[in-house]
Structures are given as C-alpha cells and as structure tokens.
C-alpha cells in the first residue's frame, strides 16, 4: 500500500512546515519498518493495561525503530498516554511485554530505564534554577562536576537558554519552560525520549516554530522520539510514522501520507483531517478497480483499487474534500456518469488561501469540498445557492468496510 504512487503533493493538513528535505536527505530513504533485517528498538508485544474494570490499553503490538520520530495520536481516553507511561516505567502492563533495545522491561523501575521523558506539565523542579534542573539527572548518575558543568552548558546552548541559567522556573515564559524540560530530558543522552504532548501548552505560533526545533534537535542528536499528541497536524508535521489510537487499541500505523491518503477504517479517515463518506454497495470488485453504487452520492463510484469484497457487500467510500472539484459546467472528462454528481452550494467559508464549500446533494447528503483561491478575485466564481457539478478522479476514493 505504501508503495503506491503519491497521486498528489503532500496533504494540505501538513501546512507549510513539512519535514524539509535539507534535514532528511531524500537520497537515503529512512524506512526501517520496510527492512525485514532491521531490528526494532522498541517492541511492544500484546500489551494490555487495565485499571479496575477499565481497559486503557487493549492488546497493542508495535515496533519502533532507532531514530524514528514516532507519534501516538488519539483523542482523550484513547490510551496513548498510558502506553507512553508504560514505556517510561510509571505503569506496568497488565498483560504483554515491552522490550527496549532487546531487554524485557518487566519490573524495571523508571530510574533504571535507558529512557527519559518530557512531561506534559514539564514537571520542572520549582525550587531549583534552570541549571540545577538540567543537571539533576547527571547528578543522580554521579557524573563528575566538571563534566556536569560542560554538558549542562552545552544543553542550554542547544535550547538557547544560556542567559536564563540562574533563573527559577516561575521566572520563565511557557516556551522557555518547555525548552528547559526538553534540555533536562535530553542531557543524559537517552537513546529514547518520550514526549507527552510536548507542544500542548504553547500558543499556535510558538507551537509551529517549536515543531521545527524539535525535529532539528531530534535529527542532530539521533535520539528516538516517541511523542503522544492529540493534535493531528502536529503528528503529521513531525513524525516518521504515526499510530492512530482509539479506545486503547491501535487503529492504524503508517507514515503521515499513508494515514491521510490510505486510511484503513472509517475511524482513521474521520479522525485525520475531514472526509466525505459515501455509503454504498459493491457492484464490481476487480484486482485493479472497484465500482460502488451509492444512492447517497447520486452516482456510481469508480475506485482504482481492489475492495476485496464480494459483489453486493455494504461499504463506504471516503473522499477527501481537496480531491473534489467544483464546476459550474458538467466536467468534460465525466466518464459514463461515474464519479460525477450534482448539488447546491449551501455554505462557503473563505479562509484566504482556500475556500471550503458545503454542498447539498439530491439525497440530502452534505459534501465538503475545498478549492485553493488561485486567482485574486473579490467576486467568488461560485456562490451561495449555485447548482454545481462535483467530480473527482478515480484514484481519489478509498473503499472502507466499517
């Protein structure tokens, strides 16, 4: 699936801060998960965690490789934080095993694990200066004083906090505290850094800037990052791979592109970005294409991939709003009435760079379509209550069963 050609440039949700090619050389593709010889750095085997009757993490298996920037993405209560806390050693799995660098972590307390964590609340020690906060971990290991001094200085340099070394945490801004927390968790040079909502407490502008810095630092130090986040944009921007979690289970694991373009379930499709779901029944299911009849869409849906379903089976077709084009005239390439339908524009949201159109089909189904505002016009070519044609290319749809 991941070998399928990218039909379009990166999804719009990635925003302007994609992983820059300067950082990760495109010549050497970093995809250890496709290499059968690669040994995973973290192996999570059938891990379940229950708190009383509540199952927080439900039979999760994952492999994370050295040097990855791996995101656990999910809503609140999806079990992502519990999974992270089990990696750190604050919780023990009820069932299953966790291996880090080949060592079974069962019964190993947090202070003996080769792992550091950056807490969502930062958990800076309020009675210590920035310097002492960063030095704390090194002192526990009995590192010589001179070495502590140089390593703390280096770390503060890296996060650009050298002038604030003597300050206490309450004398710092939110962004500065976040960087102290990062420095403190990185100073011991962990092989694995766990980050719990690292950017959650920052405002939008600072968050975007810090996303960049985090990726740069991760590349520079070669540390494996496992990040918990509920922000899909953040996950898409920074990650090598994302695990989408729902109700304690993993819904899908894949690169940001895979997750966005080839969701494997209605949950993933709807959780990441926005999507149009058309309910229908399989008419043809061939190895190279599928045809779905959908009363809701008001047309037959032709999809260029196998549905692996028997004719007549019930299914959904997911189509991303940016892949739907809106025209006033019937599109010329309309192919036998497939992937073409009509509707009336009900809502338009002008966002500057793009506009979002909400279109009601004859079936009553509301469809969302986005279009970039390529030309500079004060009058929108398509306006409220216009009758329009909606069409999409055969590769746009993804057939989903539930």
């Amino acid at each position: 699936m991941s070998d399928a050609p990218d039909p379009r440039p990166r999804p719009a949700a990635t925003g302007p801060i994609g992983k820059s090619p300067a950082v990760k050389s495109p010549a050497v593709k970093f995809e250890p998960w496709h290499d059968p010889a690669a040994k995973p750095y973290i192996r999570i085997e059938k891990v379940t965690k229950r708190f009383g009757d509540f199952t927080a993490v439900d039979n999760v298996s994952l492999s994370i490789y050295r040097g990855e920037f791996f995101s656990l993405l999910g809503g609140s209560g999806s079990g992502k934080t519990t999974l992270l806390r089990m990696l750190a050693g604050f919780e023990q799995p009820t069932e299953g095993r966790i291996f880090i660098d080949g060592v079974d972590m069962a019964g190993i307390p947090p202070y003996d694990r080769p792992v550091n964590m950056m807490f969502q609340s930062y958990a800076l020690f309020p009675h210590m200066t920035v310097e002492n906060n960063v030095a704390f971990g090194l002192r526990q290991d009995g590192v010589p004083k001179d070495e502590i001094r140089t390593r703390v200085a280096e770390m503060l340099e890296l996060v650009k906090l050298t002038p604030f070394a003597k300050r206490k945490p309450h004398q710092l801004s939110g962004g500065q505290r976040q960087r102290v927390a990062l420095a403190r968790s990185l100073v011991k040079k962990p092989k694995l850094l766990l980050l719990d909502e690292p950017l959650g407490a920052l405002d939008k502008r600072l968050r975007e800037q810090t996303q960049f810095e985090l990726v740069n630092i991760q590349e520079k130090l070669g540390v494996t990052f496992v990040v918990v986040t509920h922000d899909q944009e953040e996950a898409m921007t920074m990650s090598t791979r994302i695990a989408v979690m729902d109700h304690g289970a993993i819904a899908q694991v894949g690169t940001p592109t895979e997750i966005y373009e080839y969701p494997n379930s209605r949950f993933t499709a709807e959780f990441i970005g926005s999507v149009n779901m058309f309910e229908g029944n399989i008419v043809e299911s061939e190895p190279d294409h599928s045809l779905i009849r959908s009363a809701e869409a008001g047309c037959d849906l032709y999809v260029t991939h196998a549905a692996h379903l028997a004719a007549g089976s019930h299914c959904w077709v997911a189509i991303r709003p940016e892949k739907v084009s809106i025209t006033k005239e019937k599109p010329a390439e309309a192919d036998g009435g497939r992937n073409v339908t009509r509707g009336v524009v009900r809502e338009i949201a002008y966002l500057g760079d793009i506009s979002i159109y909400q279109i009601d089909l004859a079936s009553g189904k509301r469809v969302r379509a986005t279009a970039p505002n390529v030309t500079r016009r004060t009058e929108l070519p398509i306006t409220w209550d216009d009758e329009v044609w909606l069409s999409w290319r055969p590769f746009a749809g993804v057939v989903l069963t539930d």
Binding site: P110, N116, F119, S121, A123, F125, H127, G137, Q140, K188
Partner: protein, 328 residues
C-alpha cells in the same frame, strides 16, 4: 496607605467638561483622602482585634513589669501618681533584676527551650510520616484520616493530659502491659519525670505539626517525583532532593506552631512533670499565684516574649518566601 487611585490621570483641559460630580463621588473622594478604602475597611477588623486583645494587654503587662510589688488590690504600685501637686512616674526594674539575680529563671528558660525543642523534633519525626501517608493516600480516604488527627480536639485538653497520667503511672496501663508481656519486671518510673513531659507535649501538639505539613505535601505535584525517578533518582534520593525541600514551609510552620506554645507550656509540666521539671510557664504561675509578685511575673512574661519573637520572625520570613513562589 495611599489611595489606590492616586495614579489616575486628571482630566486634561482639552477634553470636554466632565459632568458634575455626584454626592457619591464626593463621599468617595473624602474617604479616599482619609485613606479609608474598601480594602482598608476589610483589614481594619483584624487590626482592631490585635490592638484590643494583644497590644493593649501587652502594654498592661509591660506597665506591671516596671512596677514594684505592693500589698493591696492590685498588688503592685502605680505607674503614675499625683503627689504634692506634681506627677510622679515610678519605673522600677526590680522585676527584671530578679531574672538576673536568681539563675533559676535562666535555667527555667533554657530548660523550657530544650523541652520545646526536643518535643518539636519528636513531633516532626512522628508527624512527617503521618502527614506524608495522609497526603499520598487515595483521595476519598484523606478526609477520614485527617478527621482522626483532629478528633482528639473533641475532648478537653486537660482530660487528655489526665488520661496520660493514668497511662504512665507506676500501676498504669503502660506498665501493666509491659509487665504482663514480661518485657520488664519492675514498673518503670515515667510519670513525674521529664520523659512524661516530652510524651505529653508531643502527643498534645502533634496535630499542629501534621496539619501544616499535610497542607504543603498535599498540594505538591506528584509528577515532580515521577520526573525525578525518570532522571534516575531512587525513591530515597527523590525524597531528599524534591519532597523535603518543597515541604520546608510546612516543616517551618509546623515546628513553630509546636515550639512556641511548648516553650510557655504550663499544664503539662505541672501535671506530668516531676517537682524538678523546671519550665518557665510553671515559674511564671508560681510567681503570679503563689508569691503574688506580679511585677516579676510580668517581667518573666516580657522576657519570654522577647525570646520567642526571633522564631516568629523566622516564620514570617519563610512564609513570605512561600508566597513569592505561590505567586508564580
């Protein structure tokens, strides 16, 4: 206190004329000139209380301390007297003189400080683990546990001290228990010794240590300990480097709440202590009620107060620091 609105700019002449002031505005202006703001009014209550029930009585005691004992009611000489068409002011330091002449008082002060100090340490070492256990207990169990700490207050302090007498006496509960278990073969002499005073003070003042300690430990962020563990600190090290320093305000508050009243404690040494248990509270009582030497008793009280102002100032200092942190 300067009126808070003093910084408000005067309307500049360029602006249109201001509407005429209402009566309410004028009243407000007058009260502000006098420094009477709403905030001032709220603070006035506690101030009045302190002046009425602390400062004025203190002045009375101070006045008595510079008088001389006399036979009569009240049993001391007047400070100011009208004699032969002139005012005579009598200030005598004989009360204070006695403090230095007789080393009984100095010993009593020192012994009181020692007993208070040791009892405070006992309260700290017993109270800290208790406060910690309550603060880390599941949330629904904390209420009942705290209740148990406060529960002894339902019984009169005096009755609880009497209860200790029946526990500690030669044929009391403790000795009977130890004898029946065969741990000792002769009753231990505990009652009417310094040990009984330590037990009594530690028992009576323990809640005053636990409550402030609990308050600081309870609001401590548990993730700080997780962060310490994550950075490689073993539990004992985390306690020493994180929990203990962060609970310092509670330790200081609790210690002063125990230490200060323990120094002047009178009932416990009287009932549980031996005749040789020297404490300043007891000497003060003797001077007042047995010798009827009010000026000397007042002088002892003034000196005791001077002794205790130091610790109170330390307390204030730490409290101020705590508030600085809280403001962050």
């Amino acid at each position: 206190m300067p009126p808070p609105t003093a910084a408000a700019p005067q309307p500049s002449p360029a602006l249109p004329p201001v509407a005429p002031r209402t009566v309410k505005d004028r009243v407000l202006r007058v009260t502000r000139r006098l420094g009477l703001t709403g905030r001032g009014g709220v603070i006035l209550g506690p101030y009045a209380w302190l002046v009425l029930f602390f400062f004025i009585p203190f002045l009375i005691v101070l006045k008595i301390s510079v008088a001389e004992p006399a036979v009569g009611i009240p049993p001391f000489t007047k400070l100011i007297e009208w004699v032969d068409g002139g005012l005579d002011v009598h200030i005598r330091f004989s009360g204070f003189q006695a403090l230095f002449d007789d080393d009984l008082y100095l010993l009593a002060y020192l012994n009181s400080l020692k007993i208070a100090f040791v009892s405070t340490l006992c309260c700290l070492f017993i109270g800290y683990p208790m406060a910690y256990a309550i603060a880390t207990a599941p949330e629904k169990r904390r209420g009942p546990l705290l209740m148990l700490i406060i529960l002894p207050f339902w019984t009169s302090f005096l009755i609880r001290v009497y209860a200790w007498m029946s526990i500690l006496k030669d044929e009391g509960l403790l000795n009977n228990l130890l004898l029946s278990l065969g741990i000792i073969h002769e009753p231990l002499k505990i009652l009417y010794t310094d040990l009984a005073v330590y037990i009594g003070i530690t028992y009576s003042y323990l809640p005053f240590m636990i409550l402030p300690l609990y308050a600081t430990l309870e609001k401590m962020d548990h993730t700080l300990l997780e962060a310490a563990a994550d950075l490689g600190a073993r539990p004992w090290k985390s306690f020493l480097t994180i929990t203990l320093p962060l609970s310092l305000p509670g330790i200081v508050a609790g210690s002063l709440l125990v230490f200060i009243p323990a120094v002047g404690e009178f009932v416990i040494p009287s009932l549980l202590g031996g005749s040789d248990t020297l404490m300043i509270g007891r000497e003060l009582w003797n001077l007042f009620f047995n010798s009827r030497d009010w000026p000397s008793a007042s002088a002892v009280a003034i000196a005791l107060l001077a002794f205790l102002v130091g610790p109170i100032m330390i307390f204030q200092h730490f409290q101020g620091r705590d508030q600085d942190k809280g403001a962050a």
